[in-house]
Amino acid sequence: MIQPAKPELVTVNIDGKEIAVPKGTNVIEAARMVNVDVPHYCYHPKLAVVGNCRMCLIEMGMPAVDPATKAPVIDPATGKQKINWIPRPQIGCGTNVSPGLHVKTTSPMVKDAREGVMEFLLINHPLDCPICDQAGECKLQEQATGYGRGYSRFVEQKNVKPKRTQLGPRVTLDDERCVLCSRCIRFSRDIAGKDVLGFVDRGSYSTLTCHPDKKLDHNYSLNTVDICPVGALTSTDFRFKMRVWFLKQTNTIDTESSVGVNTVAWSREGVLYRITPRQNDEVNDTWMADSGRVLYKQVAAADRLKSSDTVNILVTKAAEFFKSGSVAVVGSGRSSVEEQFLTKKLAAALKVSVSLVSRTAPGDKLLISADRNPNIRGALVTGLISELPSAQLTGLAADIDAGKVKTVVSVGEDLAAAGLTAAQLAKVSIVYLGTHANATSAAAKVVIPTLTVFEKAGTFVNQQFRIQKFAKAVPGLAGAYDDLVVLSKLTVAAGGASAADEINALWTAIAAEVPALSAMLYKNIPETGLLLDGTAWAGLPFAEGETLHYKPAATI
């Protein structure tokens, strides 16, 4: 595994605690390392520093040196080097650490500055909290409690601004709640590359809006909702659906493409309500595409496959078709590493090789790559395949036409979409493992309903060869069965050895049998993933172009 280079360290003193932090760190981040909270609104670790909210004002000082001799000036009272405190509070976000920097975050000056800024932020902020969607994850609420005075001296009329502007198809803006931190503007302009947002009017009447004839409609628009520290920008999809404190957070992975964006699925009582990005500085920073946020809707989709038969009955039915021989297995780049491992077992039991289907489309150079399968590299790592798949199952089609194949087991792949004709589908017996109805499930002799990514646990290997795990967010649909259980049972029915069908137990076998994953267990994989050595496959013509934190091998 690859270790990052050791950065140059600078020692600073924060509230009396000495800490060595990498050069170039700002004071907010340095304070975070010693568990000192410096409240802020406009600062975001992944955005340009503008220093406009003034919430992170803190006291700073530098060790005194004699201007002529450069010798340290010693304070006779303490016997230590004297600190020249700057008489005005300074912003933590815009100040990078320098050797010997001293910081006070609890002094009367800092307390007074925070109380002042907090009061100013609240005077024109509506008292919407009881009906505001941000309640529970609102920085204004939290920091008013933490650093505010607790009472209001404001008796004037509050400013009136637009309450429900549709900035784009997915984002609704309440301008009265906006604290003008400009995070959304900077994100849209600098990260998404779409300069669509800006302020109009001046002073306290400043109003966030789209530029004339522009809309906040790019595929990353909902990140502005995530980074909005208050309830100004809300997701049109999520707003008023559920209080966030009722929601359970489960770490999961975006399956849109091989980028493997780290996400959180928010659910309550088995129902998913939203997906938000999860910070991974090596993969997606703190961002994700809007298109990945609606994937939770597939869980409760009307066309979900389910069966009234038990899994054993379904497996027995499927096994009937194995008896005649001439079976082909179609695996999937959407399956998890564990499923691909078991797919390989199944194919081995049936003594056949496995085809996969490639799925490509132009990447967006940010967080959606050209390879729209989340786990093609997982199939390489587990040895399910050794070459990259093609988009069409031409080999299988030829075998069907030639009568060499009589039964096709498809693990979640729509064979019609992969180029098989209706006649070819009719010519063979299909055992289909899948989540949603399609042409293949309609033509299948046996349909074994399985689970979506939100209903099971597993791992994907992304384009960087980073193995990342996802956890089960909601219980599986009644009448659908865990893929691992199904594949394990099918393998036994096909005459193979019994394999574990529980993920932790299965990993013991995976670690033992897959060289690249040896000395690794599911439970030990960090939430931000582990980088595998992908050099063995470096020569393959992968489809991905450059995206955030990823450069294709050819361009390195």
């Binding site: 406009n52 909210c53 919430m55 604290v179 003008l180 302020f199 001046r202 002073g203 400043s206």
Partner: protein
């Protein structure tokens, strides 16, 4: 003691009968001769002259011009820009306007000399948006100067080329803040930048080293190069060299602009001897000495302390009338020389109402970028407006002061100080009037002139 005579250097030809804004008239009065001589000297020598002169910026802050030039990053390899800050917007200030309207070539000559000294190839005159006519005058003057090879390629037949562009301001007070001005010139909202890291001398216009100088300052540069830095220090007092232009407005007999050697005239001499004293039957009540953001002075109050005269420390005990009109003396008594806008108020003025007016201005002009100024300025306006138009509560004055105290020193730019100092100083100096306003309001004459 009667006032010393005016010494008009910058305003030499302002309001002179027969003096016009065209090149011919300027040349007739010795125009561009200083520039010709300057071009014969090495640029560093010109910078040294300015440093030697002790010239302090005339935009308001009084920062030494030579030091500012010395801070410019000349090793970056990037072009150096010079911006003429002609966004004169501080209420009570009207000096740059006259230079540009009546003597534009003086500014152009000063600008080109400064550009030559600093190896600047491109200069911008950022003129206040409201001064539409001034922009036309400057455009015409630059065109004339260009035709005469005073501006543009190969100035005076030398290898040195420098263009001057006139850029009309975006119509906001904050466009005069140097980094706000730079943002505005780049075509964005005039939101001032954070310093560090965006010091104009290093990361200014288009992230290149940039010099931002006031119109009057650049005219002084021309004069300094003419007479020499040494001779310039002979005018005025040490550390307050050269002349200062005072723009006197308000309740005096003869408001207007007056140019005096800095520090040689006191407030009393200026207001009584030069401006003719208060209007008949009135007495002076208060004066703001350096543009509306400077802290107010109350007639009748005394300023005591020690000050340096030569090498000695001497006691001083001044009334408002005794304060010398220079940067250091005014700073010593707790206010500032600022832009030279002297605003005089007599006993007919209610200080709460005067402050309401100032607060209305600053709340309207806050860019809205950073919280304390954005919210504080409007809150102060709302309080003072309510006091004047609606219900003044007994606690309002103290609240006003407390709000003002939460702003200065915590904002991105000096606007935080500009908008809070009036409230702080008005309350400090006229506490009685503020605290009693809720009662006084009931007895104000019904037919008095009301605030808009």
């Amino acid at each position: 003691m009667s006032a010393p005579a005016q010494k008009r250097i910058i305003f030499q030809h302002i309001d002179e009968p027969g003096y016009t804004d065209d090149l011919a008239c300027y040349l007739k009065h010795g125009g561009y001769e200083v520039m010709k001589r300057a071009f014969a000297r090495p640029p560093q020598e010109l910078i040294d002259e300015v440093k030697k002169s002790g010239l302090r910026g005339r935009g308001g802050a009084g920062f030494p011009c030579g030091v500012k030039w010395g801070l410019v990053d000349r090793k970056s390899g990037k072009p150096i820009y010079l911006i003429v800050n002609a966004d004169e917007s501080e209420p009570g200030t009207f000096k740059d306007r006259y230079i540009m309207y009546q003597d534009p070539h003086q500014l152009i000559e000063g600008t080109i000399i400064s550009c030559f000294a600093n190896n600047v190839k491109q200069a911008y005159i950022y003129i206040r948006g409201e001064m539409a006519e001034g922009a036309i005058i400057l455009e015409k003057a630059i065109a004339e100067a260009r035709a005469a090879h005073f501006v543009g390629p190969n100035i005076l037949g030398s290898n040195y080329s420098c263009e001057i562009f006139v850029h009309r301001g975006a119509g906001a007070y904050i466009c005069g803040e140097e980094t706000g001005l730079i943002e505005s010139l780049e075509g964005k909202r005039a939101n001032p930048r954070i310093k560090p890291p965006y010091f104009p001398a290093v990361l200014g216009l288009y992230q290149c080293p940039t010099i931002v100088n006031n119109v009057e300052t650049l005219c002084h540069v021309k004069y300094i190069v003419d007479v020499g830095g040494e001779a310039f220090t002979k005018i005025g007092t040490p550390n307050n060299t050269g002349t200062r232009i005072f723009c006197v407005s308000g309740h005096v007999q003869r408001p207007g602009y007056y140019e005096f050697p800095a520090g040689t005239i006191t407030m009393g001499q200026l207001l009584y001897d030069v401006c003719g004293g208060p209007l008949p039957g009135r007495i002076f009540k208060a004066v703001i000495p350096g543009g509306s953001s400077a802290k107010v002075m109350r007639f009748g109050e005394r300023y005591k302390g020690k000050r340096k005269v030569g090498a000695d420390m001497v006691d001083y005990d001044w009334g408002v009338e005794d304060v010398p009109m220079d940067f250091d003396s005014l700073a010593m008594v707790g206010t500032m020389g600022g832009s030279g806008g002297v605003i005089v108020m007599d006993d007919t003025v209610n200080m709460v109402e005067a402050l309401a007016n100032i607060n209305a201005f600053y709340s309207h002009e806050s860019c809205g970028q950073c919280t304390p100024c954005r919210e504080g300025s409007l809150w102060m306006k709302k309080i003072s407006t309510r006091m004047v138009h609606g219900d003044a509560r007994p606690g309002d004055a103290a609240l006003l002061k407390s709000v003002a105290d939460q702003i200065p020193g915590r904002t991105i730019c000096a606007f935080g100080e500009a908008c809070s100092w009036p409230t702080q100083s008005f309350y400090l100096k006229f506490k009685d009037e503020f605290d009693g306003y809720s009662d006084a309001k009931k007895t104000l004459p019904a037919d008095r002139r009301v605030l808009v």
